[in-house]
């Protein structure tokens, strides 16, 4: 622990903060790191001032803990909750919509558009796929607009999560070229991850008309 390497070691402010926050407590795997930080602190007393800032901020935080609402307010909130949770979800959404008032919702428009596109794609796939085996792709009867794609002026970005997102790419298709529907056996779902915000899992039906659809770009060599 007293090697030159260790003498030059510096925990850095983030690790120091973790030490003050008690992140090393009760964690055997971090015991040696904790000792190392404590040794460093004894050799660098000036760092105590930094720690004092952290602790003062902590005390300031605790001293300003929000007051608990009174019992009447909690009762009212609980009654609202019982009323809202007591309704079936569908009714609840309707009543929430009513309370917000009617307002133009592009989300519904795009949902409807997507559903329409999906239905259209299924119908087209059903009718076209057998012929496509015999026809060159360019000659397949797909020269109409199968899949409506929103242009950038039709989309309003309401929020982008995460400050780490330094830029938002818009208006670029994920693939360039004609798209073709995959067949059911071309797609295998290996894992499904929950949504980052609320852990909700998508419902995936593996068989029947609701099977997930995917599109690929045909390269020149595949045509």
């Amino acid at each position: 622990m007293n090697s030159d390497w260790d003498t030059n070691w510096n925990p850095g402010p983030e690790l120091l903060a973790a030490y003050v926050d008690g992140e090393f407590e009760g964690r055997d795997e971090l015991a040696s790191l904790r000792v190392r930080v404590e040794n460093w602190l004894t050799r660098h007393p000036h760092a105590q001032e930094e720690l004092a800032h952290y602790r003062k901020l902590r005390r300031l935080w605790l001293a300003t803990t929000p007051d608990e609402p009174c019992d009447r307010v909690w009762r009212q909130t609980q009654e609202n909750l019982q009323r809202l949770c007591g309704q079936p979800l569908q009714t609840q959404r309707q009543s929430q919509k009513k309370s917000r008032g009617v307002r133009p919702s592009r989300r519904w428009f795009f949902s409807a558009l997507t559903t329409l596109a999906a239905c259209l794609a299924l119908v087209v796939a059903w009718k076209v796929t057998p012929k496509a085996k015999n026809l060159p792709f360019a000659e397949a009867p797909l020269d109409f607009e199968m899949f409506p794609v929103a242009t950038d002026d039709e989309v309003e970005i309401l929020r982008v999560d995460g400050e780490d997102a330094s830029s938002v790419v818009r208006g670029e298709l994920p693939a360039i070229g004609p798209l073709e529907l995959t067949r059911p056996n071309d797609v295998m779902i290996r894992s499904v991850q929950p949504h980052g915000r609320d852990s909700a899992l998508p419902r995936i039906l593996k068989r029947g008309p609701d099977s997930p659809m995917m599109f690929w770009t045909r390269t020149d060599s595949e045509k």
Binding site: H53, K56, L57, T65, C85
Partner: protein, 195 residues
Amino acid sequence: MTGAALLVSSDEQLLTRAIAGNRECMDELFRRYRLIAYRVAFRLLSNEADALDAVQEAFVKALTHLPSFEGRSSFKTWLLRVVSNASLDLGRQRGRREAVSMDALGQKNREDLEPLFIDEPGKGLERTDLRKVLQGALAKLPPAQRQTFVLHAEAELSYREVAEVLGISIGTVMSRLYYARQKLRAHLQYWTKPL
């Protein structure tokens, strides 16, 4: 289920019954976590009415989506994720209703005030004013840093739990906490300098 049985039930037991539609168990979950949910919401919104709205919205969402709760995290961390996201959404929708900032106290008054002696209540700023000062500084942080800091400092979640709630790495949690502290320290240096 008796009141005593509700009190000694674990969250998992309550959740199982709540999913089956037991209203008492839902009420008990609300009673258990309403305060921590409110404090997190208040820290993010700086306003009691908005915080209560966020708490209500979050509980409605959580309790009506209990079947999608997989139990990979605790109910508390799952709920706090919903609460903090609902609070940030509400904050964006309504804007900051109150211009809480240190400027509200006035630069001149601030200069005239005694430094806060937190260990000696009664000296320096009143608690309510002090809270406004702190909330003002907090409101100046970027939302992601504010959310991370509040979940750690107010909900007392560990770095690992915060990472789990926000779906980010522990390194990102440490980084956000560091920058949040630096900024709070800069905004609050008059009140946080070591005695």
